[in-house]
């Protein structure tokens, strides 16, 4: 069975790449170009690389020094989070996965209930587990960092932006002039401001304006700022979904005697969200990449930790390793998300 599949896919590739002599020549040329372009990278990153050792002295020149990543792996993952407390982010990740993964298998009411429980409890639990207090040792947000912080910012800014974005999209379609105007102004304002300016304002200007002693945490300010900007983009993604729905849907709902909230909650929104899910995922992927902008206010996310590590004289010159490693992690996350959104697009019963 598998042999037949393989041979048929082989045949498919042969038909695609080598059907005529000219095609064959082009294919071979492209292949040679690829090998020529990537061979040095592979040689550097894999073949000549040093994998075992303790310090920079163990690394062979001319190849990647993955010892550096090994020595700093904890920092890349957790930043300066105290080593004895790292079970907390791990536990949180485990709990989050345990809560979210079943949502893919469950159906109907159970799924809705579990989803609500997860949505209401996990964010609070996360802040407690990571930040401490109430019996746990307090860990200041300045000690958070690395991949953990990148994911934290992305998820919590996402938690702000998705509900707010949906409300704004509905508000923009509202028949009430005040609600509509406010929504439009909010969306257009936040869409028009560069994210980096928002992060700067949230981080630098707010403390100057606010009275001394009244401090909102630096990380919280950045997360809220990012969340507000992304909410405006989310709103436009959801609006696209709402506008794609045929008028007949709302008219039919009205004919059944459903009010605005029932129509929205039961008829239009579920369909609109399904339509706009790919666009929303796109926004979320953009958000994950935008989290790196918090670097300008020296919140040390994955990229910030990578850059900070480069300043350690014990590891000078590890730029390639640091950026390749962190870049690969960002790519893996974003690629996984985009595959997930593709599968939703293809598989979901979204047509009406």
């Amino acid at each position: 069975m598998s042999a037949r599949v393989r041979s048929s896919s082989l045949a498919l590739w042969r038909a695609r790449l080598f059907s005529t002599p000219l095609d064959s020549a082009i294919s071979l040329l492209v292949l040679a170009g690829l090998i020529w372009a990537f061979a040095p990278l592979v040689r550097w990153a894999l073949i000549n690389a040093t994998w075992a050792g303790e310090s920079r002295a163990d690394c062979v020149p001319g190849g990647a020094c993955w010892v550096f990543i090994k020595a700093r792996f904890g920092q890349f993952m957790y930043g300066f989070y105290p080593a004895t407390e790292r079970w907390r982010p791990n536990l949180f990740l485990g709990l989050a996965l345990a809560g979210i993964v079943p949502l893919f298998w469950l159906e109907g009411r159970t799924r809705l209930r579990l989803g609500l429980v997860v949505l209401l409890t996990l964010p609070v639990l996360g802040v407690w587990l990571l930040g401490g207090g109430l019996g746990l040792r307090a860990v200041e947000t300045r000690d958070w960092g690395g991949l953990m912080l990148t994911l934290f910012i992305a998820v919590y800014a996402g938690l702000i932006s998705v509900p707010l974005g949906i409300l704004l999209a509905l508000g923009r379609q509202s028949r009430l002039p005040l609600v509509r105007t406010l929504s439009v102004v909010f969306i257009e304002f936040w869409r028009g401001v560069p994210i980096i300016a928002v992060i700067f304002l949230a981080s630098l200007l707010l403390p100057l304006i606010m009275p001394a002693g009244v401090g909102v945490d630096r990380l919280a300010r950045a997360v809220i700022g990012l969340g507000l900007v992304i909410a405006a983009y989310m709103a436009e993604a959801v609006r696209g979904g709402l506008q794609a729905l045929p008028k007949g849907q709302t008219e039919a709902a009205a004919a059944l005697g459903l009010g605005y909230w029932q129509t929205t909650g039961l008829i239009t929104l579920p369909q609109a969200l399904r339509i706009s899910l790919p666009a929303m995922t796109n926004e979320f992927i953009a958000l994950i990449k935008n989290t790196t902008l918090v670097l300008v206010v020296s919140i040390l996310d994955l990229l910030g930790i990578a850059q900070g590590s480069l300043a350690d004289p014990a590891w000078v010159g590890m730029n390639m390793e640091a950026y390749l490693f962190s870049g690969t992690i960002y790519w893996l996350i974003c690629f996984a998300l985009s595959r997930w959104s593709r599968s939703l697009e293809a598989g979901g019963p979204g047509s009406h």
Partner: protein, 345 residues
């Protein structure tokens, strides 16, 4: 709270004993009070400069600028670990200091007139004499910028360094070929590959870049810079007593080196030294700590925990580190450098 009361009580007792010369009351210092209340010093450092401010493998901040903050924490709170670091970027550093999020900045910041005059910040001395200089191959036998006549220098196009170097050579009628590259990294790579005889940048930056070269031992950094960019700790306007503390802890580290007090012999020096200045510095004589509202063993604690300036320099950027930076201008004034402290009298 208890801490605060007990420390100020201690200070009051110390003052009673100080006699007529120091019997005036201490000027209030909100910053010192705040540090004692929160139990830690808030120090703004750089997000990452090799040797000056960087997280080590254990995730602890290290470097010359970081060391100074630890010494300050030891002097004020008696414990060098009671300091929290806020990494700051170039854009962030002033607002973070001005808004009171940090008690001071200790982060590769050049002291200039306009910053002092218009930003509401004071510079409390110099902990590193930075300046643009050149790196050359030892084999070239060039030791100062004036030896570069007829040589070529790799620089990043449009950088301050390019302009400084071109002006400096033109002013002295030296024929130096300036070879432009798009980025600093390209310029240093070209130098390493032998396309130029020299590469130019600040002393501190060159130390970091030399360590990245193929054979760092074959290159020297010229000791005499062609520009003048001294750096040191920064405080905001106001709270003069706090400013004095910041200034004199730095002076104390430099004085300790000049007087031969190190982290290893500091106990012995306090007990047995006959030198009056050493005795005053370490609190064996006089009430110098109390005059600032600190305990009298303030500098003893600082030196015991961090060492004198020279020890800190060697460990972070000097001979004991991978950067192997020569003392150059950062040597004591008695040893051909510029490092100087007013007397502890």
């Amino acid at each position: 709270m208890f801490n605060r009361i007990s420390t100020s009580a201690l200070a009051a007792f110390a003052m009673l004993g100080a006699g007529a010369a120091t019997a005036q009351t201490l000027v209030p210092s909100p910053t010192l009070d705040a540090i004692r209340t929160r139990g830690s010093l808030e120090c703004g450092v750089h997000v990452g400069v090799p040797g000056f401010s960087f997280p080590n493998d254990k995730g602890e901040w290290s470097g010359l600028d970081v060391d100074y903050c630890r010494a300050l924490a030891a002097a004020v709170l008696g414990d060098a670990s009671k300091v929290k670091f806020t990494p700051t970027t170039v854009q962030q550093r002033w607002p973070v200091l001005q808004s009171g999020q940090v008690d001071l900045l200790s982060r590769n910041t050049t002291i200039t007139f306009s910053r002092n005059a218009s930003l509401g910040v004071n510079f409390q001395g110099i902990n590193f004499y930075e300046g643009q200089t050149f790196i050359v191959r030892k084999a070239s036998k060039a030791t100062a910028a004036k030896d570069l006549d007829g040589a070529s220098v790799c620089v990043a196009a449009g950088s301050t360094e390019e302009k400084n170097a071109a002006d400096w050579f033109r002013e002295r009628n030296l024929k130096v070929t300036i070879t432009n590259f798009q980025k600093n990294d390209d310029a240093i790579a070209a130098y390493d590959a032998g396309r130029c005889d020299a590469y130019t940048a600040g002393v501190g930056a060159l130390a970091g870049q030399r360590a990245k070269l193929k054979t760092p031992d074959e290159h020297i950094i010229m000791a005499e810079p062609i520009s003048n960019d001294p750096q040191g700790p920064v405080t905001r306007y106001g709270d003069e007593r706090w400013q004095a503390v910041v200034r004199w802890v730095l002076n104390g580290m430099i004085a300790a080196e000049a007087l031969g007090v190190t982290s290893k012999n500091v106990d012995d020096m306090r007990a047995n030294s006959k030198n009056a200045e050493v005795r005053r510095l370490l609190g064996a004589e006089g009430n110098f700590g109390a005059m600032l509202g600190l305990s009298n063993d303030w500098m003893f604690n600082a030196i015991k925990a961090v060492g004198n300036y020279g020890e800190s320099f060697d460990r972070t950027v000097g001979s004991g580190s991978t950067l192997k930076l020569e003392r150059g201008q950062n040597a004591l004034w008695t040893k051909g450098g510029l490092l100087f402290t007013p007397p502890f009298q």
